[in-house]
């Protein structure tokens, strides 16, 4: 049941991050990292280039450490599927300032567009809800994104999960820095921690 969704991923992420203010962003490896980088470089972005399945948990550790800042994890359906248990861990912990945004095209885009479990019928929004993440939203168009943008900046009412249904069309890669130590140091420095 692969439905036809038309929302362009770059446009969607750009619209989501307009006026992001103090939002901290963790990205899942693959296209989600490229999309967030393309939307605008920012020291409050932490791009994962590996650690598949770990993006949501990096977001949880960060959200618990920084309860006064909104935290968004922006990742793909494939990356989230590999760490599906982390939705239960987030559901158990209930961090009010954490939002998981899944860019869902129902495919493993980075590896040759194989159909993912999501494309084969798994409903990540329903799974999240069953895991204890009560604030779940499905978004299929640009209006949905602009309506959701403010919610992303809330530091309570979470944990939230937004499943954004995006198109599968080819998009050129946009490559963020991939030196992990650099990404770590600039992220921490931006939060006011001295680099030792």
């Amino acid at each position: 049941m692969v439905a036809n969704f038309t929302l362009a991923r770059r446009e969607a992420v750009k619209a989501l991050l307009v006026d992001r203010r103090d939002l901290l962003v963790v990205t899942g490896l693959g296209s989600a990292s490229y999309d967030v980088f393309d939307a605008g470089e920012n020291p409050a972005n932490f791009y994962l280039w590996g650690a598949m399945g770990g993006a949501a948990m990096v977001g949880l550790g960060l959200a618990l450490a920084q309860p006064k800042r909104p935290v968004a994890v922006i990742t793909g359906d494939g990356e989230q599927l590999m760490g599906i248990g982390s939705l239960l861990t987030i559901g158990a912990k209930q961090p009010g300032n954490l939002t998981i945004v899944i860019l869902d095209n129902g495919h493993f885009g980075e590896t040759g567009m194989q159909v993912s479990h999501s494309g084969l019928g798994a409903q990540l929004d329903v799974i999240a809800s069953g895991a204890g993440i009560r604030a779940v939203t499905e978004i299929t168009d640009l209006k949905g994104i602009t309506d959701y943008r403010r919610t992303l900046r809330d530091i309570d009412g979470g944990p939230r999960l937004a499943r954004i249904r995006i198109a599968t069309g080819h998009v050129d890669r946009a490559l963020p820095p991939r030196d992990g130590v650099y990404l770590k140091n600039r992220f921490r420095e931006n939060l006011g921690f001295a680099v030792s």
Partner: protein
Amino acid sequence: MDDVAVRDEVATDQSWPVQLYKTLKAHGVSQISYVPDAGHSRLIELSHRDGAIKTTVLTTEEEGVALSAGAWLGGDRAVLLMQSSGVGNCVNMFSLAASCRLPFLTLVTMRGEWAEFNPWQIPMGKATPQALEIMGVTVLRLERPEDAEEIVSAACSLAFESDQQIAVLISQRMLGRKKWTETK
């Protein structure tokens, strides 16, 4: 119960789980995640009752590796508690700590090495030190209860001050034999 009440309760307790708790507190640890384990049950209980520690139960151990990374990015010191069988689950996720040179500390209770009753615990128990070392994690052994404070304190310094990935393997001999039949 707040952390002051916990502190009063453990003030004179010399048991090794309490020594671990006090040492982690002294090093400013404010996040603890865990996959449940009988050997860690006292530390897990203290962690949950301590209002100054954010305690997270995981579905699988590699979640804790990623959680510790996020905690450090946000300025928190985190520790992962698990059993040796969980080390194998973490192998690829250790790349995150290595690539970003992130502080990482895990306290691992050993199975499959001392008076083990369950043969299914042996393979991962035997492979645990190497599984850590091949991914660049430094292994320290805690063999005697009286060394708990000294070794975990050294591990905290190596992790949080020198940005190293450290595992403290807690000997199964320290945990005692697991009882498999109810005594009447």
